[in-house]
Structure formats: structure tokens, C-alpha cells
């Protein structure tokens, strides 16, 4: 059972990391447009252009 000394903190640490990631994503505005985000996932990417053609 000594393995719990490693496993329990590890599990909690991973959970905490997930929570922090969620709070960060919330703060950076990623939950402001849920509908748009759903569509962006399947939109075609355009290769980045230095000087976009008009």
C-alpha cells in the first residue's frame, strides 16, 4: 500500500492541473462564443499569409 503515497498525490495533481487549465481557458475568453467555437473546429484552415491578396 506504500504506492498510495505516490498515486494519490499524483492523481490529485493531475486533477488540479486540469482545473488550472480550465480556469486559464475561461479567462482567455474561450467560453465566450460556444456556438462559433463548435464551427471553427471544422472550418478549413487557410495557410497564414504575410500579405493577404485583396
Amino acid at each position: 500500500m506504500e504506492v498510495m503515497v505516490i498515486l494519490v498525490p499524483l492523481a490529485l495533481g493531475l486533477g488540479l492541473a486540469g482545473l488550472l487549465a480550465f480556469l486559464w481557458s475561461l479567462k482567455s475568453g474561450q467560453y465566450d462564443d460556444l456556438e462559433g467555437a463548435a464551427w471553427r473546429a471544422i472550418a478549413d484552415d487557410e495557410p497564414p499569409q504575410e500579405k493577404p491578396a485583396e
Binding site: M4, V8, G15, D32, G36, R40, D44, E54
Partner: protein, 730 residues
């Protein structure tokens, strides 16, 4: 005179050298629009950010200061095919967005805690009978407490605060039993952990918060979307006016930047955005949006004009007055205030449920505890059992029962073209048995249409359309639109007050008053046939044609009226318009009850009458004169083209030309209400099953967890059915 557009009112600083503006965009509905707009705007040099928000239908733009004019963005969007308006976030909306983010943060914390406490609880449950030694169990319980207590203190804030507010004012809301349940469960678990007991309820308490926060967040996001849509509507109403900024210099400015005493220019075909008095010019104005009257009124020096009036023939200069000066508006404002005060404080279904719920639950828990003491159990055991009752009955499913249905139903209504202005509109709409329609702009379309288009040869119609396009007169605009004309006729000349004329090769064409086109006889015949219509004549060499132009009924009005009648709803028309016009509409639609020439006060009196008769009235109207009765009715609805005040007063707003959204809204609301009731009964049924187990004292944390999540999931799944309505079924 050179007109400039000034949007500096809306532009904000966004860091060093950067400027920011928010635009509300009409017609953004899909992913394709989103990338089209973003690419189109990013292509402008010096634009550093162009991001569409599809939920709120807005674009955020940032650019390097100095070079670009915000008006250019609006032109660029127009080229792409989207109408855009500058936008200012109202204070209330910003607060809603902040609250929404706070709830999501709470939900994240609660969900994290739930998962981790569960991870610790499951070994305890499965290990209790086998090889788990008490020291390990205590260790797991302490660890659970370490996670659950701070998490609950943070994530429970929305409930604790609301419960505290309610208790301080001597009320009980749903948050009171929730807070008591959670706090007692946590307190008991701490005591049990210290006593090395077998069962703790950290997992139940924190899971409860998670589920309830889901419901709370859904509720909030529905409200936020409603608020965002309302904000867009305000911006989309094209609230700009042409203001004189010098003796001969004019500028297009937002209405927010216009003050009493300013002078604005009102061109033919423009809608007035302010209240004021004519100081120069002579014209006819259409006040149908304000009074419901479809006949034009003459405007000359000294005539008061109100926001929403349409200028027909001549250019006017208007001195802006304070809103309260207008006698008509003052009267309407007074009626509106009264109606809003008298609007009976509607008690929402959720509140009614919680009023019943809290005393029953707390009495049960108390009686359980006393019962066990009387039966000879120790105080400790009796209290543990009593708290177990509270945990089991904590209104997890009850808290989700209504917001989940509301969210699903409002989403479905949104897709059907109905926007909600208030959260409890769905409940109230479901109860109606009587609908009062305004005629002008509600049953009819606000735009004029050519009613005899079918009787006119296509090529003639096209020519008339091209000629019409050279005039600003609204009747001419209707002809041009019906003909689908794209390019105006070159060299056409407008004869003020008469019409337009132009040449087609060697043939002269005229469009305008019958006398102008020498077609009086034909016009008189047509007028006898259709006394309500305005007649426009068209002459092409020797040939004569007349167009009958009037406000047409909404395309599907007849079918939708029939559909409403089939749903056992009484229909009635109350209009400020003249009797023949109202009678014709009522007859065409098959509505038996109608009254013409009705004043705003009469409309309210009629609604009060019906209320006293025990009827629940839905008022559908668009005019400024409808605003008080919209507020007085049980629930109210406006088309998107409605006057500002009416739209703000209405509980629901519907989009587009068809009347179908009204029927769809009633259907969705009825379905939603029945599902809300079903969900409440599901929650009650769950309690009926679970409470005896809790009272008998055999509840374990495992049973509590399973029962609570089971009932919540059941209620959520049931709510999904709210979007399944046979739409617009006649």
C-alpha cells in the same frame, strides 16, 4: 452638402496605438459567414484583429490607430453582403457576462472536486467489507474533507449568497434548502471523520453543487443570450440621424450623440430617429408605426414628428425636442408606466415549487430525527439520519427541472425565429387562451407591396421599376422592389409632388399620380375595386397602366390564423386604423372579433376586461401605440420591425416576414411547460422513492450518490424533448 459618418462615439482604446470597435452584424448564421467576414476584414491592411462571435452575432475589430475609419469597415461588410452597425455594450449586459463567467468558474471547481472526492470515496465503499483498514479509510476521509471543504466554500457562493439575501428579507427560495443541506452534510461529515466513522457525505454534498451549478449556468446563459440579442436589436435599428454640424454641413451621427435643440435633416424615404418639430420644409409623413393609421399626414413648419415616422415626399428640417415634450408620447409613457406597475407579480413555476418544497423537506428531516430519538436511538444516530434525509431530498433534480427545459426550448425557439426578452415568458406564453393582434405592421407587413403585379406585363413592370428607382418616394420604392429593378433609368427627371418621367428611345415614360400620367379613368376603376390602396399610374407612350400599392398581409397570415384557431385560442384584432381597412383584414383572415379606431387606453381597457373574465391574453403588436397594452397583457410579442419602445416592452420578438414564428412559439411554450411539470413530478417521484429509505436510516453514501445523479440525468434527458415539436403544423 457633404455627409460624413461619425462613429467615434463607439471606438475604444485597445492598448498602445490600437483602436477597438464592436459591430453588431445582421445575417451571420453559419460557419461560412464567420470565415467570410473574418477573411474579408483581415484583408484590410492595418487591421490587427477581426473576430466573429457567432453566439452574439457580433464582430470585434482592432486596428492600428490613425489610418482607418470605422465607417470603412461597415462598407466592407456591406460589400460582403452583411449589414453592420456599431455597438455599445450596455452595463447590464456586461454584468450578465461576468456573472456567467463566475458561474462557469464555480462549476469548474465543483466538478474538479467531485471527481477527486469520488476517486477517494469509491475505494472506501468497495473496501469497507474487505481489506481496507480503518486507518486508510480515515486517511481517505480526511483527504476528501481537504478537497471538498474549500471547493464547496468557493463553488457554493451563488447559492449561499442568494439564500442569505432571501432569509434577510424574510423569504424562502430554493437556495435556502440547498444551502442548509450542503452545509449540514459537510458539517456532519467533518464530525464523522473526527469520530472515525464508516460513512461520510463529502462526495454527495459536492456532487449536489456540481449538478445545481449546471442548472444555474444554463439558466444564466439563456438570460445572457437574450440580453445580447436585445442589445443587437437596439443597434440594428439603425439609430443614426443626419445632423447639421454647421450652417450647411451635415454628418451622420448615432442618436446617442444627438441632444435637444439640435437640427436634423430628414430626407424623403427616411425614418425619423428622434422626436422634434418641423422648422423648415413641407412633406407628407407616415405615422403608422406610432398610431396605426395608414393614411399620410401633412407635415409643415410647426408640425411635431415622432421617432418612427416615415418621411414620404419632401425634405424636412427637424428641431430635436426632449422626448417628454410630445403630447402623444407623454400620454403613451404614462399609460405604459401604469401598465408596468399593474403587471401582476407573476410567480414563476420554480418559485411556486420551492415555496411548497422547503417546509415539507425540513419538517420531514426534523420529524425523522425526533422519531428516532423517541424510538430510543442515540442523539448522534438520530441527527445523522435526519441529515441523511436532507441530503437525499436536496433539490438536485428540482433545481435542474426548469432551467434545462427553458434552455432547450429557448434554443429551439431561437432557431424558429423567436427571441425571448424575459426568462419566464415561456411559462406565461404556454397559458394563453386569447390573442389580440394589432393590424398595421403586425398582421400586415410594414413595407408596401404591389397587389396587382400579376395583371401587368413583365417588360412593362421592369421599365416602371427602373423608372421608380430614381425616386425616393416610398410608393415608388415599393414598385421598384416588386419589379426587382437593379439599375435606375438614366436621365429620369423627378417632378416634385407629381412623379418621375424619362425617355426610352423616342417614347416618353411617366410614373406618378394618375393625373400626371393621364390615367385618371383607369385609376378610378382600380380605386373602386380596392379602396384602401394607393394608386400609382404608369404611362408608356400611349399605353396606360396602374399599380395598386398597399401594406399586404403577412404571406402565411391566413394559414397561421387558422392554425391558432385550431389550438382553441380566441383571436381578436384591435387597431388604431380606419374601419374599412380593419374590416377587410379581419374578413380576409377569418377573424370574427375586431375593432377599429382604438386608442391605446381602449386597448388596455379591453385587456383588463378579458383579464377579469379569467382569460390569459397574448398581445401581438408593433406600434408605439401598442407599447402600453403589450405591458398590460399576460404576455406579449412584437415583430422585429416594431417601434423601439414596443420591442423593449414585449416578452418575445419574432423575426422575418411570416407569422409562423407566433404559432411555433405557442407550440414550443406549451410543450416546454408540460415538460417542466413532468420534470417536477419526476423529481417528486424520486423523492417519494428515496425519502422512505432515508427515514429508515439505511442510506449509505453510495445510495445517495446513485439516486442523486440518476434523477438529475433523467430530468436532463427529459428536457431534451422540448425541441421536438411538430413545427408550424396547421
Amino acid at each position: 452638402m457633404q455627409a460624413t459618418r461619425d462613429f467615434s462615439h463607439y471606438v475604444k482604446d485597445a492598448g498602445p496605438g490600437l483602436r477597438h470597435i464592436d459591430l453588431a452584424v445582421e445575417g451571420v448564421s453559419c460557419a461560412a459567414c464567420m470565415s467570410k467576414i473574418e477573411r474579408g476584414l483581415s484583408a484590410i491592411p492595418d487591421v490587427t484583429l477581426a473576430r466573429v462571435n457567432l453566439t452574439d452575432r457580433r464582430v470585434a475589430l482592432e486596428w492600428k490607430q490613425g489610418t482607418l475609419d470605422p465607417a470603412g469597415f461597415i462598407d466592407r461588410l456591406a460589400e460582403l453582403g452583411y449589414k453592420a452597425y456599431p455597438f455599445e455594450t450596455a452595463g447590464a449586459e456586461a454584468a450578465e457576462a461576468e456573472q456567467s463567467r463566475f458561474l462557469l468558474r464555480c462549476l469548474g471547481v465543483a466538478a474538479f472536486a467531485t471527481m477527486n472526492v469520488m476517486m477517494l470515496s469509491i475505494p472506501v465503499w468497495s473496501g469497507n467489507g474487505s481489506d481496507m483498514i480503518p486507518e486508510q479509510r480515515d486517511f481517505f476521509h480526511r483527504l476528501s474533507a481537504l478537497i471538498a471543504l474549500p471547493a464547496a466554500a468557493y463553488a457554493g457562493q451563488p447559492f449561499f449568497r442568494s439564500a442569505f439575501r432571501a432569509l434577510r428579507t424574510g423569504n424562502v427560495n430554493m437556495d435556502v434548502p440547498i444551502s442548509i443541506g450542503v452545509i449540514l452534510a459537510l458539517a456532519m461529515s467533518v464530525v464523522e471523520t473526527i469520530n472515525h466513522a464508516e460513512h461520510t457525505y463529502f462526495d454527495a454534498a459536492i456532487m449536489l453543487l456540481t449538478f445545481l451549478l449546471i442548472g444555474r449556468y444554463l439558466d444564466q446563459s439563456m438570460r445572457r443570450r437574450t440580453r445580447a440579442v436585445a442589445g443587437n436589436l437596439a443597434a440594428l435599428k439603425a439609430e443614426t440621424a443626419t445632423k447639421f454640424i454647421g450652417a450647411d454641413e451635415i454628418s451622420q451621427v448615432p442618436v446617442a450623440a444627438i441632444f435637444p435643440g439640435d437640427i436634423v435633416l430628414l430626407r424623403p424615404g427616411e425614418r425619423c430617429a428622434v422626436d422634434g418639430t418641423v422648422i423648415e420644409g413641407r412633406s407628407e409623413i407616415d405615422q403608422s408605426l406610432i398610431t396605426g393609421e395608414t393614411l399620410y399626414v401633412t407635415a409643415e413648419q410647426g408640425t411635431p414628428v415622432y421617432a418612427g415616422s416615415l418621411n414620404i415626399s419632401g425634405t424636412l428640417r427637424v428641431r430635436v425636442s426632449a422626448a417628454s415634450e410630445g403630447t402623444l408620447l407623454a400620454e403613451i409613457t404614462r399609460l405604459l408606466d401604469n401598465a408596468l406597475q399593474a403587471r401582476s407579480r407573476y410567480v414563476r413555476l420554480a418559485d411556486r415549487a420551492s415555496r411548497l418544497y422547503a417546509p415539507v423537506v425540513h419538517a420531514t428531516a426534523l420529524l425523522t430525527m425526533l422519531g428516532w430519538v423517541l424510538a430510543g436511538a442515540s442523539w448522534h444516530d438520530a441527527i445523522v439520519t435526519g441529515v441523511a434525509v436532507l441530503i437525499i431530498t436536496c433539490p438536485c433534480a428540482l433545481g435542474l427541472a426548469i432551467p434545462t427545459v427553458q434552455t432547450v426550448a429557448s434554443g429551439a425557439m431561437f432557431k424558429a425565429g423567436v427571441l425571448l426578452n424575459s426568462g419566464d415568458a415561456i411559462e406565461r406564453l404556454a397559458e394563453i387562451d386569447w390573442i389580440i393582434f394589432d393590424k398595421t405592421g403586425t398582421l400586415t407587413l410594414p413595407d408596401l407591396e404591389v397587389v396587382n403585379a400579376a395583371g401587368i406585363p413583365d417588360d412593362v413592370f421592369r421599365l416602371a421599376g427602373q423608372l421608380a428607382l430614381t425616386s425616393h418616394h416610398p410608393v415608388a420604392a415599393a414598385v421598384a422592389q416588386a419589379a426587382g429593378a437593379k439599375s435606375p433609368l438614366v436621365g429620369a427627371v423627378e417632378v416634385p409632388g407629381q412623379g418621375v418621367r424619362g425617355m426610352l428611345g423616342q417614347t416618353e415614360m411617366r410614373l406618378g399620380r394618375p393625373s400626371f400620367c393621364d390615367a385618371e379613368q383607369l385609376a378610378n376603376e382600380r380605386a373602386r375595386l380596392d379602396p384602401e390602396a394607393s394608386i400609382v399610374a404608369f404611362s408608356l407612350g400611349e399605353a396606360r397602366y396602374v399599380f395598386a400599392v398597399r401594406q399586404g398581409l403577412r404571406p402565411d397570415a391566413k394559414a397561421m390564423i387558422a392554425a391558432l384557431q385550431k389550438r382553441n385560442i380566441q383571436l381578436e384584432i384591435l387597431s388604431g386604423d380606419r374601419e374599412p381597412a380593419v374590416q377587410a383584414a379581419a374578413r380576409a383572415l377569418g377573424i370574427g372579433e375586431w375593432r377599429a379606431g382604438v386608442t391605446p387606453a381602449d386597448k388596455i381597457a379591453r385587456i383588463e376586461d378579458l383579464k377579469r373574465g379569467g382569460h390569459k391574453v397574448l398581445m401581438v403588436g408593433d406600434g408605439l401605440n401598442d407599447a402600453p397594452s403589450l405591458a398590460a397583457a399576460h404576455v406579449s410579442m412584437s415583430p422585429i420591425s416594431a417601434a423601439h419602445l414596443s420591442q423593449a416592452t414585449a416578452d418575445l420578438v419574432f423575426l422575418g416576414k411570416p407569422l409562423a414564428p407566433v404559432v411555433a412559439a405557442v407550440d414550443y411554450a406549451r410543450k416546454a411547460l408540460s415538460l417542466m411539470r413532468q420534470n417536477l413530478w419526476l423529481a417528486v417521484g424520486y423523492n417519494v422513492l428515496a425519502v422512505p429509505i432515508a427515514i429508515s436510516g439505511v442510506v449509505t453514501p453510495l445510495i445517495a450518490a446513485a439516486a442523486m445523479s440518476g434523477s438529475s440525468v433523467l430530468v436532463m434527458l427529459n428536457a431534451l424533448r422540448a425541441r421536438r415539436v411538430a413545427q408550424g403544423r396547421a
